[in-house]
């Protein structure tokens, strides 16, 4: 669905010499890239805000996994049908704003009265896991393929480019539905749930790589003309060294930008699959699954509001942090 941005790492920046003369004299002692990035990041309040939210989200996800699965104190699947309007048959939560109460701060789901907060909480880890791992998968495959296509050119490029076309043109939903319908429950000693999660990660990640592949390829095409590549070759560097040690670090910025855009896409993809009945198995909560459930009750917007908000906050945090990180990692940016 989404598109490969041809984002070059260097956005606005002053004359590179400016930094040269500015920093050159003052900071004599060496700083690693990590240190520099960290120094810059620290100054970027917005990015730090994003990072804090991400860390919080991860903590929440871990907490959710522990509290729900190990200690069983969250009850995301527990019904509260006594709080549902069965009398009139509307099956809507009793009370205002979707049944908000002390026990259920974000209200409850219609029909079964499950606590929305508990479900958002319990669903956080799966949603984040799928979104991030699928993104990582796309990025890894896309980067590898793109960099190889861009660097070697010729028939390798043609082959990979057309392969990207195949993947782009491929009816992903057909594949998803066909695959999910027939896959065994347990494989490689994983629980059915983990099998399903891995499957979704695989499908979502595996089919999104061409976007990132295209960007990386484009950037590589221009990067490989840079003289430092020749320099490495003249020192006797082999292909993999050039690809992954010389070129890859220079591709981080566009990849980051795209990866942060890919995260919401992937969360929504999971939700679309849920909507079509091939998502994570019920009753396990995921944000995408909640959205897809909520779409049947769009007359009760509170149901959608909270998972939507959770996704939005995640997306925003990742994007803000990604932008900041990109700027920080760019040694030339200032």
């Amino acid at each position: 669905m989404t598109a490969p941005p041809d984002v070059s790492g260097t956005a606005a920046e002053a004359d590179p010499e400016a930094s040269l003369k500015g920093v050159g004299k003052k900071a004599i002692q060496g700083r690693s890239l990590g240190q520099i990035a960290w120094l810059r990041l620290k100054r970027d309040k917005v990015a730090i805000g994003g990072a804090i939210v991400i860390v919080l989200l991860i903590l929440v996800a871990i907490a959710a996994l522990l509290l729900d699965r190990v200690f069983d104190v969250v009850h995301p699947n527990e019904f509260h049908q006594d709080l549902i309007d069965t009398e009139n048959g509307t099956l809507a939560p009793l009370g205002t704003f979707g049944g908000i109460s002390g026990d259920h701060p974000l209200g409850i789901e219609p029909v079964n009265g499950r606590d929305i907060l508990a479900r958002i909480f319990a669903g956080s880890w799966i949603s984040l896991l799928i979104a991030s791992l699928a993104t990582v998968l796309s990025v890894v495959i896309g980067t590898t393929m793109g960099i190889i296509a861009g660097y070697f050119g010729g028939w390798v490029d043609t082959l990979i480019s057309r392969l990207m076309d195949v993947f782009l043109a491929f009816p992903l939903l057909v594949f998803a539905m066909a695959l999910v319908g027939v896959l065994p429950d347990t494989a490689f000693g994983l629980s059915p749930e983990m099998v399903r999660i891995s499957l979704l990660i695989f499908i979502i990640g595996f089919f999104n790589w061409p976007y990132i592949g295209r960007i990386v390829r484009g950037q590589t095409l221009s990067l490989r003309e840079r003289e430092f590549v020749d320099a490495a070759r003249s020192l006797g560097a082999r292909g993999p060294y050039i690809l992954f040690r010389e070129l890859l670090p220079n591709l981080v910025a566009p990849i980051l930008v795209y990866a942060t855009l890919l995260i919401p896409t992937n969360i929504l993809f999971e939700s679309a699959l849920s909507f079509l009945g091939v998502g994570i198995n019920a009753p396990t909560a995921t944000w995408g699954g909640m959205l897809s459930d909520a779409s049947r009750f769009y007359t009760m917007p509170h149901f959608m509001l909270w998972p939507g908000l959770a996704i939005f906050v995640t997306v925003l945090a990742f994007n803000l942090f990604g932008d900041g990180l990109r700027d920080a990692l760019d040694p030339r940016a200032r």
């Binding site: 099956l91 079964n112 059915p192 009945g277 198995n281 459930d293 007359t299």
Partner: protein
């Protein structure tokens, strides 16, 4: 019009009412009128299985097909229970049985014509029935005729078995008379004659699988534009003669039908009056449910009929520990019936809590409850635990429950079962399967069920007509179970029941037969292989701009034949 005299419960001079009230069109005609003209606007969230009367099997389709196709007999277009009565349509009278119920004879009315002006003869009816037995060409239709007619061995319909003498099955001694010969006596043959498969098809105009693109009409309407899977319009058939048809008023000038419309969208449009009818008649979507029921004005514009459908859960005795009856009974006791009901949409949209198989409108059905669930219907946890003890699983056990991925209600029901059975330690894992392969590969495939421990499977069944045979024969007869998959009976493998079924079918005495159905119901429930859920009801939004609106109990939805446009 002759056949519209209303049966009991009607009010008002014309046998109808104009006052909007909840369920106002259940037993009376709402907004009665004889005004002609206008177009009825219809939408379908999905598509027809087929518009060809020879191969359609959807209830709404049978209801609607009466506008363009005339069958030998039909359900009477009358409000409420009156609609269960069969009346002659193309035939002059109901079927005459002879040979102990093995031979059935009908006389075709004189003067009935196809839309092209040619006269309808008994040969056209015979041809129609015979072609419908070609299940390769017409896969979707019911298969009663090939099952019951005394067709020659290996007969494959008129296309493949050209020139084969079929008089052993159907005879047409003259243009008016048609005689059906059955392999075994069958008392309810008039129900067969009611099916759209008996709507005449002129052999010369038959185009096989393509006939659905242009069905040759005998009813008051014929196809104008027909785009398969997108929509069609019906216009008046000028060859239809009201004099030959006591049942139809044919008030509107036509019907305009759109398919593949978003279901929520249909609700919104019906509520706003932009659209007259959601033709599937299965009730509003959850989003509109709360809207309609929450707003007294909207609620007054709604009806809540029940249909002869049971939503239930099969309990597979082939999957351990359900091979132990006590374990099955534990499930019966443990289940929270209101939870199940709510999952399906509550009292209005889901239905009434079922404690037995047969829906109440089926003659012979009587409500009984072998596994009392307490006053609040929340289940008898103590009893269930005791049963678990009895079956040797005092701490409960784990099993799987199958449902159709595309059906949110089944998902909700599975979740509800998971909750309520969890109370006694029965842990359910939910398994969603694509509905297209649900019976053929998964829940209806016995080896798969065993291999994957699908102890429970959500299921639903609606009678083809309100009759114990129509309801029970496909879901409790162990002989319909196909080991290769694809049968609708998943869990009932009781030799007693098979025997009782055979006896009931052969029983000619109607009341005896009806009480037999009730006995079978009880016998199956004793085995605890089916966990009844709800007897379905649907919340329908009454068409705002139509007249003569009433619910036909036979179809469990509005009668699509009698509408007029206000």
């Amino acid at each position: 019009g002759g056949g519209t005299s209303s049966s009991g419960g009607s009010t008002g001079g014309n046998g109808g009412t104009n006052t909007p009230a909840f369920n106002a069109a259940m037993t009376t005609i709402f907004n009665p009128s004889d005004k002609k003209g206008g177009t009825v606007r219809v939408a379908n969230a999905g598509t027809w299985d087929s518009l060809d009367p020879g191969e359609t099997y959807y209830g709404y389709s049978w209801n609607f097909a009466r506008t363009y196709a005339r069958t030998l007999v039909m359900f009477k277009p009358a409000p409420g229970d009156g609609s269960s009565e069969l009346v002659p349509d193309l035939a002059e009278s109901l079927g005459e049985a002879s040979d102990g119920g093995k031979t059935w004879t009908y006389k075709i009315r004189k003067g009935v014509k196809f839309e092209d002006g040619s006269v309808v003869t008994s040969k056209d009816v015979k041809y129609a029935v015979l072609r419908s037995t070609d299940k390769e060409t017409f896969p979707n239709g019911p298969a009663y005729f090939e099952g019951y007619l005394n067709l020659p061995e290996g007969y494959k319909g008129p296309y493949k078995s050209k020139g084969v003498d079929t008089n052993s099955a159907i005879e047409t001694p003259d243009d008016q008379t048609i005689v059906f010969h059955l392999k075994q006596p069958f008392g309810g043959f008039d129900y067969f004659a009611m099916m759209p498969q008996t709507a005449p098809v002129p052999e010369a105009k038959d185009t096989g699988a393509k006939y659905k693109e242009h069905v040759i009409a005998t009813g008051p309407y014929k196809f104008d534009k027909n785009e398969i899977d997108k929509g069609f319009t019906l216009v008046r058939n000028d060859q239809w003669d009201a004099a030959t048809d006591p049942n139809r008023k044919a008030l509107p000038d036509g019907y305009q039908v759109t398919m593949n419309v978003n279901a929520d969208d249909i609700d919104n449009r019906v509520i706003s009056g932009d659209l007259d009818l959601d033709i599937t008649g299965t009730g509003v979507q959850p989003a509109s449910l709360s809207r309609v029921l929450g707003d007294p004005a909207l609620k007054a514009g709604a009806d809540n009929p029940s249909s002869a459908r049971l939503w239930y859960t099969s309990i597979s005795p082939t999957v351990a520990p359900f091979d132990n009856k006590a374990c099955r009974e534990a499930v019966q006791y443990a289940v929270d019936r209101t939870g199940y009901q709510t999952a399906y949409g509550g009292t209005f949209s889901g239905g009434d809590i079922a404690t037995n198989l047969l829906p109440p409108q089926i003659p012979g059905a009587s409500k009984f409850d072998l596994y009392p669930a307490g006053a609040d219907n929340k289940g008898d946890v103590e009893k269930a635990k005791a049963k678990l003890q009895e079956c040797g699983q005092p701490n409960g056990f784990e099993t799987n429950i199958a449902y159709r991925a595309e059906r949110p209600k089944e998902k909700a029901a599975a979740e509800a079962l998971q909750q309520s059975l969890g109370r006694v330690g029965i842990k359910l894992t939910l398994k969603a399967f694509p509905q297209g392969d649900y019976f053929s590969q998964f829940a209806g495939n016995p080896p798969y069920v065993v291999a994957n421990k699908l102890g429970l499977a959500l299921n639903g069944w609606q009678a083809d007509w309100s009759d114990g045979f129509g309801f029970l024969s496909q879901i409790v007869d162990s002989r319909v179970i196909r080991e290769t998959g694809g049968s609708s009976n998943v869990s009932v493998r009781v030799p007693d029941v098979d025997k009782m079924l055979d006896e009931a079918i052969g029983e000619t005495d109607k009341s005896k037969r009806e009480s037999d159905w009730g006995a079978i119901d009880k016998r199956v429930m004793e085995e605890a292989v089916i966990l009844p859920g709800v007897h379905a009801k649907a919340l329908l939004v009454r068409p705002k701009k139509l007249t003569n609106v009433f619910v036909s109990a036979a179809y469990g939805q509005y009668d699509y034949l009698s509408f007029g446009v206000a």
